[in-house]
């Protein structure tokens, strides 16, 4: 089945996967370039992170709306299969979010700078979101058995 023939839920999963990769890669490319040869505490990371988060959110909302309007009415509503796949994707991705929180906690305990703590959390959220989308896409494409 071609992606163009997919349900609204599957198309938005593709959208979220692509947007999360673009957001994560863009942010780490910007901050990585700024961090070259500069102490971590002096790297300007707050506004790139804020703008990337806003951009990600706007892209997801606008993209979802566009997909919704372009989708046939019958394929817009999530059914049992969509809900199960979404749950499975969330379950698969959430482990990285937990690891990131744990790592951030350890960094805080050891007195690391805000730069490392914030970026660890951001990286965890980015991997968690991307992995969750990836798992959902794979399951949509090759099948889902309970």
């Amino acid at each position: 089945m071609a992606v163009s023939d997919a349900t609204f839920q599957e198309k938005t999963t593709w959208l979220y996967g692509v947007v999360s990769v673009v957001t994560g890669v863009t942010y780490f490319a910007i901050v990585g370039a700024r961090a070259r040869g500069v102490p971590a505490a002096e790297v300007e990371w707050v506004w790139p992170m804020v703008w990337c988060m806003i951009g990600c959110l706007v892209a997801m909302i606008v993209g979802s709306l566009a997909i919704y309007l372009a989708s046939p009415r019958a394929g817009r509503k999530a059914d049992q299969r969509d809900r199960e796949i979404e749950r499975y994707g969330n379950y698969s991705g959430q482990a990285f979010g937990t690891f990131a929180m744990l790592a951030a906690l350890i960094l805080t305990m050891t007195g690391a700078t805000h730069f490392w703590i914030a970026n660890t959390i951001f990286l965890g959220c980015f991997i968690s979101g991307f992995l969750g989308s990836l798992v959902r896409i794979v399951v949509y494409r090759i099948g889902f058995q309970r």
Binding site: M1, D5, A6, T7, E10, A74, G75, K77, D79, Q80, R81, D82, Y88, V138, V139, I142, G143, F144, Q145, R146
Partner: protein, 81 residues
């Protein structure tokens, strides 16, 4: 996740036997998307028991005329450990 199911189904044959019912019509009557019916027909998704009964009800046949679980008598009743 992607372990192939041993459950087979006769949905495609039943659709054709019922006035060449389309996947979209069946999906509409069961209350799912057409893509879910496609996934079930292709064995890529095992429906819930409730959805399986709903599909059987649309065709007016018992559940085991829609879904089959092949295997010998020694394999009946669940996994062998």
């Amino acid at each position: 996740m992607t372990r192939p199911t041993r459950v087979t189904n006769s949905i495609r044959a039943l659709r054709f036997a019922h006035g060449e019912m389309t996947q979209a019509e069946l999906a509409d009557r069961v209350g799912v998307t057409r893509q879910t019916i496609i996934a079930i027909e292709q064995g890529k998704y095992s429906p819930t028991l409730e959805m399986a009964f709903q599909i059987a009800r649309v065709f007016g046949v018992p559940l085991d005329e829609v879904f089959q679980y092949p295997g010998g008598a020694d394999q009946q009743g669940g996994k062998r450990w």
